[in-house]
Amino acid sequence: MTLATFFQHVLTGISLGGAYALIAIGYTMVYGILRLINFAHGDIFMMAGYFMIFSMVTFPWQIAIPLVCLLTVVLGVVIERVAYKPIRTAPRMSIMISAIGVSYLIQNLATYLFTALPRAYPEIPFLKKIFQIGSISSSLVTFITPVLTILLVIGLILLINHTKVGMAMRAVSKDFETAQLMGIRINNTISTTFIIGSLLAAIGSILYFTDRSSVTPFSGTLPGLKCFIAAVLGGIGSIPGAVVGGFAIGICETFLVAMGYSTYSDAFTFVLLIIILLFRPTGLFGEKMIDKV
């Protein structure tokens, strides 16, 4: 591996990792607040891909991108209202099954509506423009992804630490019931969480699929699982953790594929999960939690 190809792979890895990071934030935020693995998050991400395909048929990308973000956010909030809110107090397992049910429904619905065949992802011309830096060449999206990710994360952290909504979110994630007693509007806070998560998933989806060029109803499953693992790696509930986890998994995966182990690149992620759970269950940045007896 020459130095140039090495950097080429690093760049691809960072770019993939950026998209993963954006999705992982959605998992980590929802988990932080509802203690729920939102199994449907990967499918929301997949649906954002289809939204883009259909928006680009009629609209130019300048309109299509905000439209996709809007549709994805609506989808995310509707899922929360319909499938999670009614059973918020039910046992954890019921909520997880409900999440799986939603994921199953979205996949089947997508198969029904769009068939299981891969659909071509539209090209956004300016994102595909090839750039050359030294001996490394890549499309603009590869350079944009990490930068955009970092900017979004900084914005999000500012939002969480310095606004009223952010404070409400922090309070709810620390103690659901007390936050409710203190007059925080739980429903609004949770909806906000889903809005942010879905919005980031939509952006992640555009960045991810632009590099992949096609979408199927099952394109969300594996990236979804990987991003959840990224969130666990960083420490579930921690946003910087999710970002670091996303980048780490993206880079590792790219290098495994580059070295010819593409079949095992997915398996690697899960082996990584088991190793983390074995040695550091709270992840890299997670806080230790003590269950009260």
């Binding site: 059973i87 397992m93 199953y104 079949t263």
Partner: protein
């Protein structure tokens, strides 16, 4: 109701089922659909009960069923494919010499081993899956159940990836899958294996270990304070559940005659979850009933959703390929959101319950009064 009366009823029910199965076996061609559906339902009921053992009775949310079934299916298939068919099956890269000589040795053995081979294969498949379960269960079961869900789901995907990888070509035939797997002798045999498996799990659940599992489900802190070793018992339940999932996977391989890694995708696990949820999380009989019901409605009764339908010359909208699965996922969601107990809740079938229902049906006043 007296004990002897109950035993008579049970015996009658058993004879009736057996008679039905023998009848179906004799008229296989005529009732092909019913035969296939029933057989598949029987097989899925084993894995549904095994998932219920782990999820419903021990409270561990495991989503690795498809992976364990894949292990069972491939082990069973490799054991059972006759040596004469090996060349046809492994036509791409050939079979690993070790396996071939082992199979030659097996086939040279005495006749009765040939007869027992399917059962041996199923058990070995189960044992292999149980070993894997022990391996992943050790780190994961000590943590909260959410991680178990993700880790088992991931495990299941890893198994699939490895099975279909080119490096495994000489063992699993990579992505081409295995075919020409000998099937069951008759549906009675399928049923017999299922009865043995389910009976073993029911006996386990009724034993002192089963009670310990339930204690863990109810309250882990209290269970531990009562001297129940959490890690050990969770591990036990997970391993036993995986064993039976793998047996069911092996049966599925014998039923389908040809398998490939796509058969064992995550959606298979979701299908089984659907069965368990509809039957009632924590009810063995519920799982068995739901396995039959769900299989029948999915593959047979609700097939019409997938075909364009015209009534009186008017095309009914929505009816086309894939609609059935949409309906199915909606059913799952509706059950989870509104009927969390499923068909049976945590109850089991009993003649008393049936009698009560029956009496209620005949004279509503009498039966309804005593319901405290």
């Amino acid at each position: 109701m007296t004990k002897s009366k109950k035993m008579i009823y049970t015996a009658i029910l058993g004879v009736l089922i057996l008679a039905l199965l023998i009848f179906l076996e004799a008229n296989k061609t005529q009732y092909g659909m019913a035969y296939t559906i029933l057989q598949k339902g029987i097989i899925l009921s084993v894995v549904a009960v095994s998932m219920n053992l782990v999820t419903g009775f021990t409270g561990l949310f495991s989503l690795g069923q498809a992976g364990f079934m894949a292990i069972g299916a491939y082990v069973t298939a490799i054991f059972l494919i006759p040596v004469e068919n090996i060349k046809d099956v492994y036509y791409i890269s050939g079979i690993a010499p070790g396996i071939l000589s082992f199979k030659n040795w097996l086939e040279a053995g005495p006749a009765f081993t040939q007869m027992l081979l399917p059962y041996i294969a199923l058990i070995i498949g189960g044992v292999v899956a149980a070993l894997f379960a022990a391996l992943i269960g050790y780190p994961v079961l000590r943590l909260k159940s959410d991680y178990l869900a993700i880790a088992t789901l991931g495990f299941s995907e890893i198994v699939r990836a490895i099975i279909s990888s080119p490096q495994m070509d000489t063992i699993t035939n990579g992505s081409y899958g295995l075919k020409k797997i000998p099937g069951f002798v008759s549906i009675v045999e399928t049923f017999g294996i299922m009865v043995v498996c389910v009976l073993l799990m029911v006996l386990l659940l009724r034993s002192t270990y089963g009670r310990a599992f339930r204690a863990i489900r109810e309250d882990e802190v209290a269970a531990e304070a009562m001297g129940i070793n959490l890690a050990k018992h969770k591990q036990m339940s997970f391993i036993i559940g995986s064993f039976f999932s793998a047996v069911s996977g092996g049966m599925l391989a014998m039923f389908m005659r040809s398998i490939d890694s796509r058969t064992f995708s995550v959606s298979l696990t979701y299908d089984i979850l659907l069965i368990v949820v509809i039957g009632g999380i924590g009810s063995v009989t519920g799982s068995v009933i739901a396995a039959l019901l769900v299989t029948a409605s999915k593959e047979w009764w609700l097939r019409f959703f997938d075909n364009p339908l015209a009534i009186g010359g008017v095309q009914i909208p929505f009816f086309r390929t894939g609609f059935r699965m949409v309906i199915f996922s909606i059913i799952l969601l509706v059950v989870v959101l509104f009927y969390q107990k499923g068909i049976m809740g945590k109850n089991e079938f009993s003649w008393e319950r049936l009698e009560k229902r029956f009496k209620k049906l005949i004279s509503p006043k009498k039966g309804g009064a005593k319901n405290v």
